[in-house]
């Protein structure tokens, strides 16, 4: 019998809110799927859309980008800039056929450990149902380099 599919998900999070939220989920002993690899950055303003492309290039099945709620940015407005960028990039991804369920954006504060755990649970489930990102994986395979996350 074949193994059930376990998606690889990369989460780009800001250190002040979402990372702290993830930390809170951990210290609260909340359970969430181990499918997510967290990459911590100083601010959502530092999360370039190229990070998302890099994650897919390395074989990710899904990507989460998350940071402080509007108004709560440690640097005051990094997330407002990020939001505009996400709006444009998200539109581009959809237009080029990257399915909506593969790239998610969220605001998760340092107090929202539960929201973090539940979100990881739900996006993991959604991508598990959708299956591997085969169209992208095929392009990776054609390059002759092995994908790894």
């Amino acid at each position: 019998m074949s193994e059930p599919f376990e998606p690889k998900i990369v989460a780009f999070v800001c250190t002040y809110c979402t990372y702290a939220g993830a930390d809170l989920a951990g210290t609260s002993r909340l359970k969430y799927p181990p499918n997510v690899r967290i990459v911590r950055l100083p601010c959502t303003g530092r999360i370039s859309p190229m990070f998302i492309l890099k994650a897919f290039q390395k074989g990710a099945d899904g990507v989460l980008v998350s940071g402080c709620h509007p108004g709560d940015c440690h640097f005051d407005h990094g997330n407002y800039h990020a939001r505009r960028r996400w709006t444009a990039f998200n539109a581009l991804l959809q237009f080029t056929g990257v399915p909506e369920e593969r790239v998610k954006f969220s605001w998760i504060s340092a107090a929202e450990g539960i929201k973090f755990a539940e979100l990881i649970e739900s996006i993991t489930e959604e991508i598990r149902t959708a299956g591997p990102f085969e169209q992208y994986h095929k392009l990776i395979a054609e390059t002759g380099s092995a994908a790894s996350v």
Partner: protein
């Protein structure tokens, strides 16, 4: 006097009286339907200028040639309203000073080139405001509408097919007046974000990065699509981005020279329908 004659004598005058040190315009190309950019510095050469419906290239980018504007002298350029928008964006991005630019404005209406009144980019703000209004009402491209109807799998396949033909010649980048970076991010190798090889994955990455970096900056002049040797419909990507910044942020690139770049500014109440 034909419009071409009018512009020739205007160019001549500008050069003779020393208002500008150079006129950037169109000259005869290799076939009757082609034009090529020419750079005129002597009044006697102004008669080489051509102005007709075949003059479609956006010439604004030539102003950024290394050192051209360094002496603070002025240059006159043949520009359509989209060309003027280009100058506005370049000024907003601190790439040039509009005081150094004299506009030889024209517009193509069907088979004819028509004169546009104005000398400085600011003189065209009315026309540009008008274009913004029209752009908002313009339906998306027919092919784009078809794409939106498809499933994401079909859309991905469509673009996979298109991008598979890309040969990474970067002609689209070279032709774009907005691609002024000395070092493009795709040429960066520490870290190397984008595959430099021209396999379909590398081509997809390149084209996504290109389209994204032009979001809210592209004036839809068509230089890139025109330059692409394998006819990738780059305009579909550019147009989609323009429509996004228009609907989400009411932003029309190049409205005036003081307009903040859309991705370098924000409003606290920007829409965020897709954020969880």
């Amino acid at each position: 006097m034909s419009i071409q004659e009018q512009y020739r004598s205007r160019a001549k005058e500008l050069l003779r009286e020393g208002t500008v040190k150079m006129v950037i315009g169109y000259g005869a190309g290799t076939t009757p339907l082609r034009r090529r950019p020419i750079f005129i510095t002597s009044p006697d050469d102004a008669d080489r200028l051509v102005l007709d419906a075949a003059c479609r290239t956006n010439l604004a980018g030539y102003l950024l040639r290394e050192g051209l504007l360094a002496d603070q002298k002025s240059v006159a350029v043949f520009l359509t309203p989209d060309g003027v928008r280009t100058i506005n964006i370049l000024a907003a991005e601190s790439q040039l000073a509009t005081e150094q630019v004299i506009v030889l404005g024209f517009q193509i209406d069907g088979e004819n080139a028509r004169q546009l009144e104005g000398t400085r980019v600011a003189d065209f703000s009315g026309i540009i405001a008008e274009r913004k209004k029209k752009r908002k009402e313009q339906p998306s491209h027919e092919v784009a509408r078809k794409l939106e109807q498809m499933t994401s799998v079909e859309r991905f396949s469509f673009w996979e097919g298109e991008f598979s033909r890309c040969i990474k010649c970067y002609a689209c980048r070279a032709a774009c007046p907005m691609c002024w970076c000395r070092r493009c991010v795709v040429d960066n190798n520490q870290p190397q974000w984008v595959n430099t090889s021209s396999h379909t994955l590398g081509n997809l990455e390149w084209n996504l990065v290109r389209a994204f970096h032009l979001a809210g900056r592209c004036v839809e002049c068509g230089n890139c699509s025109e330059a692409c040797p394998v006819n990738i419909p780059l305009h579909l990507l550019n147009r989609r981005m323009t429509e996004e910044v228009l609907t989400a942020f009411d932003y029309y690139p190049g409205a005036d020279e003081h307009q903040e770049p859309v991705l370098a500014s924000f409003r606290k109440d920007d829409p965020e329908t897709f954020i969880l």
